[in-house]
Structures are given as C-alpha cells and as structure tokens.
Amino acid sequence: MVRVIVITSGKGGVGKTTVTANLGMTLARLGAKVALVDADFGLRNLDLLLGLENRVVYTAVEVLAGECRLDQALVRDKRQPNLVLLPATQNRKAEMITPNHMKWMVGELSHQFDFVLIDSPAGIEMGFKNAIAAAQEALVVTTPEISAVRDADRVVGLLEANNIRPAHLIVNRLRPAMVEANDMMSVADVGEILALPLIGIVPEEERVITSTNRGEPLVLDTTKTLAAEAINNIARRIQGEKVDFLNLDVPKEGLFTRFRRLISLK
C-alpha cells in the first residue's frame, strides 16, 4: 500500500526541500521504493539537492503535455536504485498544473512505489494546493522562529480543512544552546502552539551547506552528524518504528552528563 506524504511548511527557507531529499534517500536505503515529486513548479530545487540536475531530461510538464511518458521523466538515482525523482519544470507552463494533474501523476506512481514524497513550494497559493491535492498525510517542517511557526500554523489549518491526516511536525534547525539560554523557542514551545504530534527534531548543522554544495544529501555523508541521525530516525518513525528522540541537551558540566550524551549518540 503506497503512502503519499506531502512535505510542507508555509514559509520558505526552513529546510523543506533538504528534509525531503534526505528523508527520501533514507527511506530508500531502508529498502522502500521511493518517488520524490518536486511540486515547486517554476522554481525547482530538489534536483539540485540530490545532485541530479544534469540528468533531468523531461519534467512533469512534458508528461502532462503528452510529450513523454511518465517513466521517461523519472530520474533514477545512481547511488540508490530505490530512489527516483519526478522533476518540476523550471521555466515553462508552470501555471498549467492543476490539482487533478497532480492526482493523476501520483496515482500513476502509486502502482510502482511504496512512498511518494511531495515537496511542496512555499506559500499557501496554487502551488501549495497542487502539492496537497494528492497527499494522504503531511509532514509540516518549521524552525523555532516566529514567522516560520505562524506560517506553519496556517498550513496546519489548511491541511485540516482538506482532511489530510495524520499531519506530523518536524522542528528543523534547532539550536539547543540557544534554547538553553532562553533565546530560542524549544521544541515543546513550538509543539504547544501548533498542537501537532512531533515526528522529528533536527538540530542546526553546518554540513547541510557543504552537502548541498556537492549535491550529496547529508545522510550519505561518511562523517556522522546529529542532523543525519535525526533524519534517519524520522524515516524509521514514518515506517512505524518506535524510536526515542535524540538527546540534544547541551552538556553543562560533569562527566556523568557527557557520558550519558555519548551513549545516546551511539
């Protein structure tokens, strides 16, 4: 049974596409067949984060225009054979896409894949409506910042109104030291406002930038990072496994605290 999940946020720049790329890669590595759909028509980015930009020949728009078959537009990831990308168009006819188009395309993909992850554009206009049209579930990505949480709240309302459930919360780019100093909202603060069940906490990670530069999703990095581990845990939770949340407490003092943290990193 296929699961169609939209990854959305309202506000741009909170890490939606990065989460989509890394989650897709992780689910594929865990053995699921995964299709990533870039629904950010006109401003596509998912191909870049996956390092697949040079291999895009056709996009969803050519499929819908009848210029190619759907499987011709799918870009297969050479590092991970379980993963394919359906790219969005970058420059042409982006306005022609409708919710019905999305439903048809996702319907076609449903026969061949275990997961269809749809990367939604920022905003709550047409692009967003297209992105959620075919989705059964949602992951709402936000950062612990006022505008991101406000926009996420609008999105949660719209997901509810469109009967897309369950919707789960991912708090991205958390800076535990700032939370500790009462200079940033905690995950609990954000969760209290949005009233969504939490599925992941991803700490701020500089290596996201270098991995994006290279077009290699962070989870493929040989250097282990907490952020990659956090994504890995989200993928496992999506598959129904019970995984404890990472201990992101800032080590304050004492061997004991540090020791405990080491264990939890294992």
Partner: protein
C-alpha cells in the same frame, strides 16, 4: 526540578526573548485562526457590551477582549468589570463577570 535549576541559574524567564516570542505567537495565531476582521471583532465587542449593559453597569475603562488559543481551539475571552447592577434586575451583587464564548 527544572524550575529549581532555572532558579539557581537565575535566568530571566519572564523577560527572555523565548517567552516573548511565545506570547507574541500565541496571540497572533489565535487571531489568524478565527480569521475575523478587526471591524467584525469591534462590532461583536460593541454588541456584546450592549447586551451586558442592559442588565448591569459596566466600567468602560476596564473592558478587556482577547482571543486565546489552546490545542487549536480558539476562545474569546471577554472581561467586564461590573460597577453596579441595574435596579430593575434583582440579581445578586457581583463585581466582575467573565464570559467565555467557544466557537
């Protein structure tokens, strides 16, 4: 335990930017969620006040209308300090009435 630690560390809790942003967000999402125009809100406020004033005398200085959100349910909190009960009503004396309307 957590509060105790905070106390020891002497962090400025009520005044921290973390508390501030949370308060601002709670207010702003409460208004976002009901999606009422300021005009509609003002009209509603006036009409509720009209009704209340038929029964009791209200201190206009102390009026307080606000929206609060909890677990995605928004409540309208209206606070009317009552100065005097109208004579034609034989209610018990009260000093303040709180009126909560759930949508």
């Amino acid at each position: 335990m957590f509060n105790f630690l905070e106390l020891i560390r002497g962090r400025d809790r009520a005044d921290s930017s973390r508390q501030k942003v949370k308060q601002r967000l709670q207010l702003v999402v409460a208004y976002d969620r009901v999606d009422l125009s300021p005009k509609a809100l003002e009209m509603m406020q006036r009409e509720i006040l009209d009704v209340i004033s038929r029964y009791v005398e209200v201190d206009p200085q102390g009026l307080d209308f606000s929206l609060e959100s909890n677990q995605r349910a928004t409540a309208l909190i209206a606070n009317f300090p009552i100065t005097r009960i109208r004579e034609d009503e034989d209610e018990e004396e009260e000093t303040a009435a709180e009126n909560v309307v759930k949508p």
